[in-house]
Symmetry: C2
Subunit: 192 residues, 2 copies
DNA sequence: CCATAAGATGAGTCCGGTTCCGTTTATGTG
DNA sequence: CACATAAACGGAACCGGACTCATCTTATGG
């Protein structure tokens, strides 16, 4: 069902070129690059862009989704080499550092993590699971409180990434992340 | 210098009507209300809207700025009636609750707190000062760590508000806020 | 009551995403 | 290899929405 027809050769090339062009533009921070530009720099016309992507937004989302999916592989690695609490710390700071490389990536992470858009559903679930794994490991080891869920932490991170990149942003983001970690380590569940 | 001419009577009325119409629309969550609609529901034409506000954005910002300025009065009150740490807790949760009343307010707080737009400079400074006052009081009392600044905490809150309103949002936001508070209370400064 | 400058109007411009259809091309079949 | 055909492409036209400007209206001070 997921492959009705194998997609013509040139079509696949063009699709790739579009994604790559969009990737360059968006991750470079030009978050409002025009469809015309993207299409041109991919060597195709707008019509072609719209053949491959429902809408401008859809294209952006595709770029971001891929980017975030990659990051979801990290927790597995980290848990192999570090104690749960440390793995959690490293992963959170990894996310922050990624967000710091450019406005584009920060927007990507925010879009995935802080919105309810169904388009990002998969990526969100994916990332939520990754965090849950880290939190569970920590809770089992007794080094992290057990009343915070992956999705909730995901939101908090989305919030941090929502802060637009600017001078001093990285340090602030790291500090806030450390605050969260301290809260995760030392806090005692409290009635809301 | 700030008052070259006293502004004609009808002009002031119209300006007020526009702000009020925009306020209704935006805080109700219709964050992409059309200028045409706003102008019409204020009983004026678009031209008039643009006589009073440089741009659509400028109008929105004006609405949001006012809203946030009001909130900045709270810390003063809270510090009079509560211990610093408790005042801080109440203020953070107050912000979260305000953000919860509707998408509009949440966008307002996010815009003010998580962006670097110079337009919000005043509001941001204002809010940053308010937080600094709370943090300083807590640090002096020894109940809150002293290495977090108002502006940084402001960013963190902006992040929380950037999470779009949805089912269960309020609870998540409160939980994250409590995490931050726990971090502020128990954490020990760590090298970045 | 008039002069005049501030203010209001709204049709028109501009801009950028999206659509649509005529043309081109990959691909598999005889 | 030539042809048929469906897939893919191009790009001019369309459309919605923010913004402008030439013209008309009206508050206000003398």
């Amino acid at each position: 069902m997921p492959s009705p027809r194998p997609l013509r050769a040139d079509a696949r090339r063009n699709r790739e070129a579009l994604l790559s062009a969009a990737r360059v533009a968006f991750l470079a921070g030009d978050t409002d690059a025009h469809v015309e530009e993207i299409a041109r720099s991919a060597g195709v016309a707008v019509g072609t862009l719209y053949r491959h992507f429902e809408t401008r937004e859809a294209l952006i989302e595709e770029v971001y989704r891929k980017e975030v999916d990659d990051l979801c592989a990290a927790p597995e690695q980290l848990l192999e080499h570090h104690a749960p609490a440390e793995a959690l710390r490293r992963f959170l700071l990894l996310l922050v550092d990624h967000a710091a490389v450019g406005k584009g990536m920060s927007v990507a992470l925010e879009s995935i993590m802080a919105s309810d858009s169904p388009v990002f559903g998969d990526a969100r679930t994916h990332m939520g699971d990754a965090l849950t794994r880290l939190l569970d490991a920590g809770a089992t080891a007794g080094t992290v409180r057990g009343d915070v869920t992956g999705p909730t932490l995901l939101r908090a991170l989305g919030g941090i990434c929502a802060m637009r990149v600017s001078d001093g942003w990285l340090d602030e983001a790291r500090q806030i992340t450390n605050l969260l970690l301290d809260g995760l380590r030392h806090g005692v569940p409290r009635a809301t």
